[in-house]
């Protein structure tokens, strides 16, 4: 890449670069525990990106994404625990297997109207914990399966200690594994969206009949979207097991699927940065509302107590409703309109930029 292209890159790319560097350097300055929390936020971002591909880009509303995470998590855990496969190897395996299941799932899903698809996937999400508990021999039933968290490999650990002066913990290593997966998968998603598959999916989302009439392979792309979405969910689930150290039926209740949807919507559907913003919001809101908020002296005690006790559910619900009514394009949408508004003001918008046609000097 020559210097010319670097200088010509739009400001967005610089922002992405900054964020990536920040995320790479982050664990060196925060505690190991915080690193594990941020790892989980990144994992959620991967899952939400998968959901975003399905809902935001191809317009199919699935409320059962948690089920894909569960599948990926259990595949990894079972392979590692029963068959002694190296955990890091199980991640792509779990992803691909879940992706295949998702693709197959997408075939009957083609016949369902959007409302019915939402209904069926919602039912799936509710039933998932029961379905997991049953084959207890394989899944460990209610107890679940424990996941051994690996130590960081020697080389990486040495680099880390040289920079920070402390030994690298498992949690920090897991953070970097998650970050690596997130960067790769976000990059893949960005490419998919930019090129033909993305355009096809958006055409389908905006009008299936018109898309089909324009020669888009509607069935193919819709099932592809399901498969991709499930792949991301499977990888996220697998990483999730790694990060928490175990998998159990109770880790994947219907509220997880809701949390993922909240993250996707709040972050901003049909955008690449959206899932990251949404994941940070969805993951940290419950934690901060019960910890950070009550400790702030400038928030009146009454409000703080209510926020703390009411719990994340009320906040999620209210925010979801408010966002859908006032800002259906989520945080990224708000940021974009805010940015373009600012841009126009700062540059002194002329008539041409606000979309008015200038008077044509040739007409009489």
């Amino acid at each position: 890449m020559n210097l010319q292209r670097i200088r010509m890159a739009p400001p967005r790319y610089w922002l992405v670069g900054v964020v990536v560097l920040f995320l790479i350097g982050f664990p060196t300055v925060i505690s190991s525990f915080l690193a594990s929390e941020w790892a989980q936020a990144l994992i959620l971002a991967i899952a939400i990106m998968g959901l975003n591909i399905l809902v935001g880009y191809s317009g199919q509303l699935s409320l059962g994404h948690g089920a894909f995470m569960a599948l990926g998590a259990y595949i990894s855990a079972i392979l590692a625990h029963h068959y002694k496969v190296d955990y890091l190897l199980t991640i792509p395996i779990a992803g691909l297997a879940t992706g295949l299941v998702g693709f197959l799932f997408g075939i009957p899903a083609l016949r369902l109207s959007p409302l019915y698809l939402a209904l069926a996937t919602f039912a799936l999400a509710v039933v998932t914990p029961s379905l997991i508990k049953r084959p207890a021999g394989l899944t460990g039933g209610v107890q679940g399966i424990g996941v051994v968290q690996p130590d960081p490999p020697g080389a990486v650990s040495n680099i880390f200690s040289t920079i920070t002066g402390t030994a690298m913990t498992s949690d920090q290593w897991i953070y970097y594994v998650s970050l690596f997966c997130a960067l790769v998968l976000f990059w893949v998603a960005w490419n998919i969206v930019r090129h033909r598959p993305g355009r096809a999916m958006r055409a389908i989302r905006d009008g299936e009949v018109a898309a089909a009439a324009s020669g888009v392979n509607v069935r193919g792309f819709k099932t592809l979207a399901f498969g991709l979405s499930a792949f991301y969910g499977g990888v996220a689930g697998s990483l999730y097991g790694l990060s928490t150290g175990f998998v159990s039926p109770d880790t994947f209740p219907v509220s997880l699927s809701i949390q993922l949807l909240v993250g996707a919507v709040v972050g901003g559907l049909a955008s690449i940065p959206g899932p990251l913003a949404g994941a940070i919001f969805a993951y940290f809101l419950p934690i901060e509302s019960s910890q950070w908020v009550p400790n702030q002296s400038w928030i009146p005690a009454q409000i703080a107590a209510t926020v703390k006790n009411a719990g994340p559910a009320v906040s999620y619900g209210v925010i979801l409703i408010v966002i859908m009514i006032f800002a259906p394009n989520g945080l990224v949408g708000l940021a974009r309109s805010g940015y373009s508004l600012l841009n126009r003001r700062l540059r002194g918008a002329t008539d041409r930029e606000t979309g008015q046609m200038p008077p044509d000097p040739q007409t009489v």
Binding site: L61, P114, L115, Y116, L119, V126, V314, G317, M324
Partner: protein, 293 residues
């Protein structure tokens, strides 16, 4: 044989509960083409309200209608505050809003009453009565009776009164109804109120069985979805028939299919949903898409 009949009656009783919630779903679907994912949680909240009234000393048979009235008002409130502002939004936006509502109501109930299950009174004794040689519990008969009365009342309201007529007209033909002087917007609110009241009945009937707690209706709503889809999402009689069929099916499946047991009954509900949507998406009584004028 005895046991089979008992399970059958039990299935009809739980089926009546499913039918009430399914009817609520169908009423709103008919009015707006939307499945209200929050219907179960709204019913749960109404049941908690009933609980609060009874705990304050109100007699059950007074608290019951009072709760229905409050649920009715609540339904209207939800429509006015949350749904009306986004009336013209795409369906998926509305679905997500109802999900937000469900989450909110669930959290609210948890916040006010906590998550410890409470026992909820039933006005029917748990004794059994000998009915043509079969022992059936008063409780099951009572639930069947109450559900039956409520469903009949809704039927009469919709089919035999002017209000019901304008409700139906506004739901299926909003533009034409406006030209006939019908306040379509109010009718929509009324539809939500009615649905909320009918849904509340299912909550009150099921609470003595399941114990009252915020997550009580999460499985019931799945069965109600199955019932509505089975009967045909646009068909009120379909919701009732669907409810009874689903109730009897899961009861018998739980009793006679060894691998199903108690916890996989819900999977049977899921199987019904998926099966119907794949094999006969319009359900038993539904028709192909209706054009609304």
């Amino acid at each position: 044989m005895q046991e089979f009949l008992q399970q059958l009656v039990g299935g009809l009783a739980i089926g009546g509960i499913f039918a009430s919630l399914a009817l609520a779903l169908v009423l709103i679907y008919n009015a707006m083409g939307l499945v209200n994912f929050a219907q179960g949680e709204m019913a749960m909240l109404a049941t908690f309200v009933a609980y609060a009234l009874v705990s304050q000393g109100m007699s059950y048979w007074i608290a019951f209608p009072v709760t229905l009235v409050l649920a009715f008002a609540g339904g209207i409130g939800v429509q006015r505050l949350v749904i009306k502002p986004v009336e013209r939004a795409p369906i998926l936006t509305l679905v997500i809003i109802t999900l937000g509502l469900a989450t909110l109501v669930n959290g609210l109930a948890g916040f006010i009453w906590g998550y410890v299950p409470r026992s909820f009174p039933s006005p029917f004794s748990s004794d059994s009565v000998d009915l043509v040689g079969v022992f059936v519990s008063y409780r099951d008969l009572g639930v069947i009776a109450v559900s039956g009365i409520v469903l009949l009342a809704v039927y009469l309201l919709l089919q035999r009164t002017t209000v019901g007529l304008t409700l139906r007209a506004a739901a299926h033909h909003p533009e034409a109804s406006r030209l006939l002087g019908v306040h379509v917007s109010w009718m929509l609110a009324l539809g939500w109120g009615l649905a909320s009241a009918v849904g509340a009945v299912s909550g009150i009937m099921v609470a003595p069985i399941l114990l009252l707690e915020p997550n009580m209706m999460q499985s019931i709503i799945i069965y109600a979805f199955a019932a509505a889809v089975l009967g045909g999402i646009e068909s009120p009689p379909g919701a009732v028939v669907g409810g009874l069929i689903v109730g009897v099916t899961i009861n018998l499946a739980g009793a006679y299919l060894p691998f199903v047991g108690g916890d996989l009954q819900l999977a049977v509900g899921l199987a019904i949903i998926i099966g119907v949507l794949i094999l006969k998406p319009n359900g038993l009584f539904g028709r192909a898409a209706v054009r609304r004028v």
